[in-house]
């Protein structure tokens, strides 16, 4: 596929021979497009089942590494970054917004990982996602992001999800594609500036575990939400935790939660006050979020081709878009009416998205402000766990059991 696409692109760049005897070869793009998506769905299902077994039944870090490597080969290089957590989300969002036909295969690729996360958490992120796989494998030395900062940065994908949903609904374009840093690697097309972004993320990924999954991936937000209700919860060890804290050291993703000691009276008072304060702040947060969305609307609208065209017309710029527009039968009034309608729509949607974001931020802050259950064991936050199995490998009790099994 890559070979053909390179050839097609190359032929398009060089004009066809002008001799009468030359006949243009037939380009059968349909053949490329008909590459069976359902076949990929089947392979994905197999991967997710195998991944779930590796993580929950065999509880093996090594198996998860093999799973990642296989995922990278199959979904990354053979299927050319499919399923792509960025493209999938964007395709579905735009298809739903436009009311256009969505291929069942594409829909299944989008829905199956979410459905599986209701049973087995984020097994998809563990290795079936090519982006997750490449980050999992190309990680060298872990630099830990402080937990509070990590929690705040994890709100970025939520914001991106909301922003790009608004963009998809109003046909503002595909800005999300610019944030798919590993695509050049999988497509073997190192055109700048994407190649630079790839290099940056790969470099960062050597030290900070899964920077894309944690701080960018919008599909990960959905998986995180669904995996909160997962039937199977990852457990560091089936034995009695000795509180060695190795698992906490072993997890660079901040998914391992330390136990909390019994609270003192002072802590109880402080905690109660903090939660009360946060609850009282909810209306302000909603208002601030709405305000943020409201003032973001012109920025979002400015990416829409009609708004860009209108701005160029207003500024008297003679761009190609302006010339193309003038060659159509669309009048200035129709264009302006379209722009005003779009801006009003974006304004409402963006404000609503801002309110929702404010609500989600407050939910996150309140959730973090609450005390964890007083269990003297290290536990895993299923919504944050990427099912990499590092904690299994770190846990001395698990290692001991594996040794005995051998």
């Amino acid at each position: 596929m890559t070979h053909l696409s390179v050839l097609l692109a190359a032929q398009a760049r060089f004009p066809a021979p002008e001799f009468e005897s030359y006949t243009l070869p037939e380009m059968s793009l349909e053949e490329l497009a008909s590459d069976s998506v359902l076949w990929r769905v089947l392979v994905l299902c197999v991967f997710l089942v195998v991944g779930s077994l590796c993580f929950y039944k065999w509880r093996s870090r090594k198996a998860m590494l093999a799973y990642s490597l296989a995922g990278l080969a199959v979904f990354g290089f053979i299927f050319a970054s499919c399923p792509c957590p960025v493209g999938m989300f964007q395709n579905i969002a735009e298809g739903v917004a436009a009311g256009s036909y969505i291929q069942p295969g594409v829909l299944l690729l989008f829905a199956i990982p979410l459905a599986v996360s209701l049973f087995a958490g984020r097994v998809f992120c563990g290795g079936a996602c090519p982006l997750g796989a490449i980050q999992e494998l190309l990680h060298w030395k872990s630099v830990f992001v402080p937990r509070p900062l990590d929690r705040i940065l994890r709100l970025i994908p939520v914001l991106l999800l909301l922003v790009f949903t608004v963009c998809a609904i109003f046909g503002i374009g595909f800005p999300l594609c610019y944030l798919e840093p590993y695509l050049p690697v999988f497509l073997l097309d190192f055109a700048t500036p994407f190649a630079i972004l790839s290099a940056v993320f790969l470099l960062v990924g050597l030290f900070i575990s899964r920077p894309f999954c944690r701080y960018v991936c919008p599909y990960g937000v959905l998986l995180r939400f669904f995996s909160m209700f997962s039937l199977l919860k990852p457990q560091i060890t089936s034995h009695e935790c000795v509180n060695c804290r190795l698992c906490e050291q072993g997890c660079p993703n901040g998914a391992v939660l330390p136990p909390e000691n019994a609270e003192t009276a002072v802590q109880h008072r402080t905690g109660s006050r903090r939660i009360s304060l946060l609850v009282a702040c909810i209306p302000f947060a909603l208002f601030a979020g709405g305000l943020f969305g409201y003032f973001s609307a012109p920025v979002l609208s400015s990416f829409h081709r009609d708004v860009r065209l209108q701005n160029e017309l207003d500024a008297g710029i003679r761009s190609e878009a302006v010339e193309a527009f003038e060659s159509t039968k669309t009048t200035h009034e129709e264009l302006r009416a379209r722009v005003v309608k779009l801006q009003n729509g974006v304004l409402l949607a963006s404000t609503a998205a801002g309110v929702l974001f404010g609500a989600l931020v407050m939910a996150e802050l309140i959730a973090e402000a609450r005390r964890r259950r007083e269990e003297e064991v290290y536990s895993i936050d299923a919504s944050l766990c990427f099912c990499c199995g590092r904690c299994y490998a770190a846990c001395p009790l698990e290692r001991k059991e594996k040794h005995h099994e051998k």
Partner: protein
Amino acid sequence: MKNDEMRRTLRFLQWTALTFILTLGLLLAYDMYRSRAPIKQAQDELADLKQQDLADAKLAKTVRDLDYLYRSAYFQTKDKQRRGVLLLGIAFFLLCGLFGAEMFWFAPKLKVPRGTASVPEKERRQLLIFASCGIVVMAVALAVLRIVLVPSEAKKPAQIADAPNTTAEQSGKAKPVQTETIDLLAALEAEKTQWPQFRGSTLPNSNALPASWDFQRKWSSPIELSGNNSPVIWDDLVFLSGGDGKNHAVFCYDANSGELKWKTAAPPAANMPEVTEDTGYAAPTMCADSKRVYAVFATGQVLCLAHDGTLLWHKQLPDPVIMYGYASSPLLMGDKLVVQYDMDEKQTIFALNVFTGETMWQTERESAQSWSSPKAVVADGKGMVFTAGNMCAELFDLETGKRLWSQDCMGGEVAASASVRDGKIFFSNSGAFTGALGVKDGEILFRNDDSPAPDVASAVLFGDQYLLFGSGGTIIAIDAADGHELYEEDLDNGFYASPVTVGGKVVAVDLDGVLYQFEPEEDEIEIRGKFELGKKVVCVPAFHKGNIILRTAENELICLEAKQ
């Protein structure tokens, strides 16, 4: 020891793969950069050769050989790069595998951390601090993005209201728009002494007729652009418009000297519709009030200018696709400029704010294309707009655009406009309808299906008679009370220019430029004056201080004054 060797081997392989990737990547990047220039040079060279005489067999062979050579070189380069990139991908996958293998066989060495475990209380405080910082960062980022991406005019986030289409600020000739209220009745009253729109004023015109019907040219001026619109006059300024397939403009002449005072070009049109020669690009007659003039072109552009020629606003109406070309004249009623916009596909009546060009209301009409002009109706101090089109005659409320009634009595190609008096609307157009409708409810008071009706010129009311001026040269008078034909008069030539009533007489000009003064009698029409201009005229004459100002079909503006 064995493990250490294996780990060293893996590390060595990782470094090798990494070095290979970096080296190959750099070489490929350099190769891609280097191959650009020769390809461009080859393409330019070929293009130059192809411009020469390729009938020369030797040159043609050279071109063919070079084309093959360059083409082969191009695809060989591409093939080489493709292979290089493929190799890069394999190396990359191997590197991933090597990293994975190290993790597979050598779990990271973890040490039991020193010190106490992380303190959740402290982390919670930090979380709130980071959250506050995040809010600040987001606010700053948003501010920067707005500065960089959003043009200053569009920074107001709320644009719920329908913005004025194109204001003077965008035309480069900015002039602050002032809004004020205009009393409709006072405005109509003020029109009576002027000649402000199609067929003069809405209320009976008080201009005087020339002292005699024997004329001499007071002045004449050429008009730069052709047009079938009639001149309109406010005080001593004559306004008219012109246009061709490229340029459109409004012209202002001194009514006393004929001097061209100014010319203002319309902004470039978004669409240039097809029009017939008979219609042209500037058929709609302009409107004028004491401060502004308004022009509509076949391109769907509406222009408002000050009396000094400054463009105050410009509005583009929807796609102007209509057979023959757009020809309806706008109607000025107080603070509203009414435009009957009956296109092939969609028929709409617009009321535009005269100060801003903003659409105050627009009402879609269930009709077909027509070329008729709207007519002002005033009853009980209330303004209304009468429109005639294929299928229906309709009356709209001036303030709201609400359809007051609709009478399904029309048909054919409707081009004429109506006359209004005493609660009756008179209308006559060939193939459509000849008769009268009640202002109150649109009831057909009478109709005359027997007398031939005009197809271009609008009929005129005079006393008890409704006079139909046909394009064949026939003048028919019908009784304004019941519609029966009173008499018929045949003249030498037909009428395209609509007749008007001034100074108690009917004035009309035929296609040959013969200017008539009629006085209808009970059973015949008396010709009180006849003056041969000797030039074709299709436009309505305008009256100014006892003089007549005419636009000829030869792009000339002529002022006739009575001989002493």
